[in-house]
Symmetry: D2
Subunit: 460 residues, 4 copies
């Protein structure tokens, strides 16, 4: 008999995890293993059929108890006992021939984790789709460097930048999924067995993309947990970057981003407050998920490269919970992006008041008047210092020795307009339509590829 | 004038980092940008030639001072000043046409980081090569699960398991390298420019694999730092797993692994001690590197998705240092693996004394006597409990009702031998030569592919 | 109306957290605030009495719905609505006079966190008590350095070392509790109010140890979360150290530690296995808790020092869950320590076979024969190299030139005995009873002090 | 002979660390140990005097080589060899009597770490002093909640809030220092010795505050590294919170904080930019330090609770480097705080335009007109929605049924003034002078106590 505390803190929580998450996948593994044993002629006549029948019976009728029964270690031993009750202990025992809980469990975990990752990827690609739609938006937008207003751009340019970032994470998630998508069955405890198994056949029956070849690695590796966890963590931290950037843009003082009332909370004490705390909740949920995902990877530090319970149900379940939390953050960000409103007048007024477009004035002087970049930069700097005084610009230009500035005030104003700032930035990757076209094409290509991969169940 | 403390704690350390790590790559970037500007006909006649000449002159003769000069922000402004002294300020200014320190710096960092990653990958593939050689070793070895002796295997089976693990990290490192291997030039501050640049041409001139398309992402992204850092961190933690597993195997009590004297330290007070502390130093160096690599990624939490100094020289330099520390851990592990000695007699005696091979006895009873796995397990368990008493085995077997156990004592002994335990494990991925063959073939394929990719400079 | 996803992913989970964890403390806060408002004569005649009555009514009869009602932000607004239904909206409104959800919520969180920390400390002190009992055990034990057997000691010496370590964590936990044990009420949103409040009185009514004085800090600080989280994380990592040390000692090969069957699991495939996986579960639960506790602290990186939702119910609830997980690890370790068995014969045989006590032979030669430490070390080293050959010892000693070694073989054997190794180590802090006495006295003092502090509710 | 790579990657870097950081403290430890040995009469006549003389000679004349000599493990063995050359090997050997490198090294590390922590605390208290000066500043300031402008306050109220936060970290740093400030000498390898040592006397001679009593804990514990590292990490993360809060306040759009030109960088391409990147550098240096400090603590996860090289020179040196980086961040923040300028007109205009003070209007209606808080909140909310239309306020008030609002327009304007918002907040901890007085008194008390503790060398 196990110590009651051990039952209460280890065996019973494990039993609960197994019932909740792993029961269905267990049946799939039993059936696949059994089919292979039969095909390999490793069972006495009739045993496979009887076992298949009994598994079907238990699948449809067996309801495990709320609490783990006395003297039972886990759901599998309980299942085997029930099986024994149906077909006799001896026959039931054949199901576990050439198998260990080691290879059985890790394959079950991989099957379920694969499903969870595919579901998570579905939500991420939904966010990506919304970002892709947003990438077509051409409203003027103001982008910052070092927390200071820097350049006029478009909302689409901004959102497509983040979309590209996100799709890099998606690539890592699919790479992580590939590690998950492998069968370990046949590894048995750690060194396979003397029975003539067909490991590839089991993987095929389970719809898994491949095998972990080396049987010791199959059991000892934690990469199927850490690789997707690490990729998801990166995505989580990337979410915090976007909301950290949007926050000040959505402040009442700056106000170039707005959210509809349905996403905003008020204050119980300050009548004027409109708090877009949805951004905070994305940050918090992403931040908590990042922490948990990191903590799964950290479990493996200084951990013997051998079979350990870190690759068992408790950490796997924690990973599931972190993916749920992160899914929530992804979904919240999705509706936030969908609801985003830009105040273009605010963009124009800040751009004008803070001289954001003066870079373009300097560049235009270089292009149209043939002066050097440093000269132009100097003249425009003086213009800015003088409070956008055109006279200062003209006298500064004249002092360069290239003659007077033969351009009208209207030319200067037009050159400084937010619209023109964007329109001339046609370089590959810039905010003008000509610059955005190849970016959008690339993103469409990647997004299409990822969507198809998801539909295929993750395979390349 | 900058505040003296700001000079001392920010500008001067940055100046030092730039001189040490980034000076050569800066010249490459200047030349590539200049060549493109000329090809795109963005420069007045003769300017490109004069600037190329001046850059050559400075490349061969300019030695920056030990301390950052007063009023200078960084090495680039000093370089531009020197350039101005050679060709005039106006002409010198043309070098920075349609460029910002933002796109210039991040491309320089990427060029250097690419080199460092390739060098690091070279050392990792060297370890992989040594592990691959070790994978051919067929000495008997004892593998544990849950810290307890579990199965007999071979050293090659063990080392090839870790090699497979390592190569998964190598795949991630190459994926990280792909993110690094992109030019950001032409992004300028964040939105490109109104000048007609050819960004692809600059990437080509720099030997980079591609572009970061979206100009805002080009400057704001930290993935070129975090993706390789994260991959390297995983590798570092994997090193700690191997040494954590080898440690107890190398203890005086267990003693199945031995290291030559050249890798062992003595005690200043305990005459009997032989401490294989090289394992500890791998662990510490890998552990410290893991910490630093993680801390680079953590910098980006809650950090506005915009141009920030986290993608500047200080974090990049810290990443270089972490790669150096990790390289040291990799190299130490390499010599450790090369020097590894196995005490097969110790393996055999522990296996015998602790009943490690009794699994095989149970399996043989199933295979040869047609009893079920659970029956066999029960009989053998009783045999073990009775101190490997063959009479207990025979009586237990007889009690099953399948008749007496018609096998000799010699058969029992042979079935329990360590050699046979390995020899029958021919399943795909098992330790017998038949099981190892496809594993080694896979590893050879991957290793060859990675070596060729390294020789190609990282490209697929 | 809030966006349905916002309700589903933010408001409703918050509502659930509040109902589950914070409902009782909310009532305490309402009553204390109300009492103070009345004492300060800030309420119209009769309002306080009516509100107290209505709060009592709701406390005994109001059952909030399973799901958050439409248009309601949180449990407090729902409560206020119910209050309004009982006493009229106008009167109900007085309860929130000179208060904000900011100061209300953080005080509620602190009240509940204080309870949880006290409960956690209770479990930790229970472990400490068991370790203290174990510190009296004088069975011979073998301690390692660098993974190699190093010195003979006693189980009590070993366990008391870890107890001392644990009590340092307890000190940090109490320090963290002190930060928690402060009222923020009266801070209102962030700058207090124009109403004449008595903040000290509210703290007193709530049984809190003090105030956060500065009203902005009161709301912006996360220290009440991070300080206890950090202290608990250190404790969690310390647990992983102890089990990492006990693991190899409990391996079948070494075998100086044993666990009763009630704490050991078998293998489904390897008949000989006895896995003390309880150690692993302590490690995993402590490791997961450490990760989560660290992730709470990490939320605050680059987070504006202002009122944010990181100090709201979601992270607080996560902290509670981490404390529960860690409590489980603490309890599992407690029963493990209670059940620990030492195999002294194994200790003696390893000590003898591996020359563990030869340090003492060298020391005895120094003390009794007046040779230098380095001479003694050299002679004994040769003795060890020769396989504990007494002739080698004698000839080595003779070669030193201090005459022959006038000691019998029995003297040598006795000097090398495990018992004597311990008995002579009487130095302050050593394993002999004389060395242990002051250690135990110190521990008893600290443990008594902490127990009394716990009984007092954490106050110094 | 050691393996050349082992020399290059382990022994020689260790030798360098020791020469650079630990040489002086080593001499202190040799002298203290020797004095105690002599006082305890454990040495032959004359040995102590000869050894003291030789140590003095080496202290003044011995210059260790650049590279570690062949066959030497560390600086100590080299030192002992030199000592042997001066006084003979036999006499030299007495210095190491009843001592191990274990207890010697950890005490040396503690001595040096104590100095570093005291120096670091000196810089932190310097920042605290500057914050304390800033706490007297009464310029109007605008504080945010959830990234939105929330309340008017004063700069002093804001800075004193952060000062209080910082002093909580200082308390933890002193607690960490207390763990460092203990001698481990006499613990020898791990179990003390049979020689009659006086451990307290050695601690006294070294000026350390106490002993680590249990000899096994003395060597195995990592708390002397992790406790100060954890406290410093918390401080580092707190720095990131302050700069994250100041950043948007210093943006060109908001502009309530300004920095002098000496702390601001320009753009090489955008003429209008003024980047207060000093805030970023505080964030980056603090962030990198936080990462490294965390990584020191993480080294101990799953690490056997025994003597390991994690408590040796490499991690200790990394901790020193992290403290240096963090010192730089502290100093940069100090000059930033010293140079801070507030634009009170900007504060007033934002407060007015965004209705920041309307809370006070609601409160005044409650206080002066006796309506309930909810009523007042409703009326003022309508006023805000109507664009601060006084007619809306009056009609809304009238609708409440308490008669007309008998207050002049001037009263309304005055009630909404930023100055009055602050002046009425006299509650304990609020921004009015009456609220600040007890806060400043508390801070002065703590700061004075910490300064005296620092002067005393850290002791309570």
């Amino acid at each position: 008999m196990f110590h009651p505390l051990y039952v209460d803190r280890v065996l019973d929580p494990g039993f609960t995890n197994w019932k909740r998450h792993f029961a269905d996948a267990s049946l799939r593994v039993h059936r696949a293993h059994l089919t292979m044993l039969e095909e390999q002629k490793l069972l006495p006549q009739g045993v496979a059929a009887r076992l298949h029948g009994a598994i079907d019976t238990l699948a449809s009728s067996f309801v495990p108890p709320a609490k783990i029964p006395d003297g039972i270690e886990d759901l599998y031993f309980l299942f085997e006992r029930e099986l024994g009750a149906l077909v006799g202990v001896e026959t039931a025992g054949y199901l576990h021939l050439a198998r260990s809980r080691n290879d059985m469990d890790t394959t079950i975990f991989r099957l379920v984790l694969k499903e969870r990752l595919l579901a998570f990827l579905g939500r991420v690609l939904n966010l990506a789709t919304v970002l892709r739609r947003g990438s077509d938006r051409t409203e003027l937008f103001l982008l910052a460097t070092h927390g200071q207003p820097a350049n006029v751009s478009t909302l689409g340019h901004y959102l497509s930048a983040f979309l590209a970032e996100l799709l890099e994470d998606v690539e890592d998630l699919f790479a992580g999924l590939e590690t998950v998508d492998r069968s370990t069955l046949g590894a048995c405890a750690i060194t396979t067995t003397g029975f003539n198994l067909n490991r590839q056949r089991v993987a095929e029956l389970l719809g898994l993309g491949g095998l972990v070849a080396n049987s010791y690695q199959a059991i000892a590796t934690g990469h199927w947990l850490t690789r997707p966890a690490t990729a998801a963590r990166q995505l989580a931290l990337d979410l915090t970057r976007l909301v950290a950037d949007m926050g000040p843009k959505a402040s009442a003082e700056v106000g170039i981003l707005r959210f509809p009332d349905a996403l905003v909370q008020s204050s119980s004490i300050m009548p004027q407050k409109r708090n877009p705390v949805i951004l905070e909740h994305v940050r918090i949920q992403a931040g908590l998920a990042a922490g948990t995902l990191g903590s799964v990877a950290d479990l493996f530090r200084n951990l013997a490269f051998q079979d350990v319970n870190e690759v068992a149900d408790a950490p796997v379940t924690v990973l599931f919970e972190a993916l749920e939390t992160l899914t929530s953050a992804v979904d919240l960000l999705t509706v936030t992006i969908e609801a985003l409103e830009v105040d273009e007048n605010k963009v124009r007024s800040i751009a004008r008041d803070l001289g954001v477009t003066t870079t373009e004035l300097a560049d235009s002087l270089v292009r149209e008047k043939g002066i050097s970049f440093r000269e132009a930069h100097g003249v425009v700097h003086a213009f800015v210092k003088a409070g956008n005084d055109k006279a200062a610009l003209r006298s500064g230009f004249a002092a360069l020795g290239h003659g007077p500035l033969d351009r009208s005030d209207a030319w200067i104003d037009d050159t400084l307009s937010a619209e023109r700032f964007v329109a001339v930035r046609k370089v590959y990757g810039g905010p003008a339509p000509e610059g955005m076209a190849p970016v959008l094409e690339l993103l469409d290509g990647q997004l299409g590829q990822f969507r198809r991969r998801l539909e295929r169940g993750g395979g390349r």
